[in-house]
Symmetry: C2
Amino acid sequence: MNPQTPLSPQLLALDWGTSSLRAFLMRDGEVIETRQSAHGIQHLPQPGTPGYEQAFAAIAGDWLRQWPELPIVACGMVGSAQGWKEAPYVRCPADIGTLAGQSVAVPSGLGPDILIAPGVLFDEPGELPDVMRGEEIQIAGALLDHPAWAARSCMLLPGTHSKWAQIEDGRIVRYASYLTGELFAVLSQHSILGRLMPAAAEKPRETDEAAFELGLSVARDSRPGDLSHQIFGTRTLGLTGRLPAASLADYLSGLLIGHELVSGLAGAGDLAQVPLVMIGAPSLCRRYAHSLHFMGRAADAVLDNTAPAGLWNLALAAGRVGGGHR
Amino acid sequence: MNPQTPLSPQLLALDWGTSSLRAFLMRDGEVIETRQSAHGIQHLPQPGTPGYEQAFAAIAGDWLRQWPELPIVACGMVGSAQGWKEAPYVRCPADIGTLAGQSVAVPSGLGPDILIAPGVLFDEPGELPDVMRGEEIQIAGALLDHPAWAARSCMLLPGTHSKWAQIEDGRIVRYASYLTGELFAVLSQHSILGRLMPAAAEKPRETDEAAFELGLSVARDSRPGDLSHQIFGTRTLGLTGRLPAASLADYLSGLLIGHELVSGLAGAGDLAQVPLVMIGAPSLCRRYAHSLHFMGRAADAVLDNTAPAGLWNLALAAGRVGGGHR
């Protein structure tokens, strides 16, 4: 690094998922510059290692020509069995030290190797197993910035496959995934329910709060097994005119998020004693915050993308950058 | 009818759904001859009334030339808003007299009008509304052949949109639909879960009973809201090697049927006192019977297609055929 340039970066951090690649130049734990490309691992310019190298060179080649010894870390599906190099899952309980210790290095084709973080596996007898890859780094980012949550907290990462993770002593001790976002998408796009819903692309529109809360209330009052009947209700609420067609998607969204919350909150331990932290895209977090409020609960904090902080934390734990907490 | 022909039919009964049309020549409540065509209401030779007339003439034209005054009744989606002529839903409680009284007639283009049965609507304040169209006739068929069930029974019709109907005094007093079959289909075909499952078409195969029962047991032990986590388990059971790829569909099937049963049995009233009758395709009924047994319950009877008997019952109640019970 050039000591004459106070803003020389100390880390190149990659959040490399299925459908996109984001690159962050970082210094002192802060992002200096961000780039994004569509070269997720399922959308590479060509298959295999040459495709990864090409995608990497396209997003970061000039940075590495300028700073050829910049350490590089990555997280996400780039470390999956279908990724650039597999970083096998580590088991719960896992902390940032476990993640750093089990990261794998792959030659970047430019400058230093890339250190790829593993995902986290929950696999206990008598329980359904679970997997995450990428969310563990977001959690590590939240914990870097808010060390008080390390002692004990519940981290909720809403999304296509929402995660509810229990944190103790800085470690992810258990977690559960919910297929909420994907269930909404496949039901809206591929089931009979979608026939009554106006195409989402037709117009951007406001959420029908009453329809959304009807879904939440139906979820809240559920008995075990009721969900597929309540999903069918999306159709019958439309057929009977109780909800307008434009509001059916909001009922279904409230129903599915509501079910996730009912189960997630029941599994989250004593939430009166434990901070509940939400991490995710602001618009989705607002929807979940509304839902939590409806269920009589509030998130203690809502964080936007914590992946860069988590990758900084990984680089710290791996000795790739110096210093303690920023 | 020709008195010299002892087997002259007394009724032409049509079960006309979305994807197929079945025609039954009947006498004394029994089917003499069955025909089937692919001209469901979404697969007509041309749109609108000409398409219905053409499909009807193709399947039954020669019958009507031979017996030009044969009464004709129909049930199913042919009476929906997208059908030949809409027979608006009747509300619960509904019996065969209600259905006959609210049937609508449409000119067949050949011989007599066709009497089309309405569907049944459940629509009570504070509950999700529900609709059926076709199943009410299958229920009427079961009740014609087994009048003892009219006093009180629970009728389970498994399928794409399973129905659980409560019968009292010969009437459908309430019922609930479950999207079980469609949920299985869209998750298998359109979600991330399908990526781990071998294509169903690759080979016909035996059910993995252990995987199916794992799904049932997970469903049985559910708390409210758990389903979308347990659905995600289809993926993680495969990724962790706990189930082979070929068995993941059986886990998912057991899980979804199990959830339906947990909810349906809880809503079915005091089933120790009430006969539980299952109506449907034999292979699917075997799967449900297995699941009921796993839940500690048995069906008191399992019936194959009762639509012809139900259409006979409709014709009786409408005065289109003579006599009481066969």
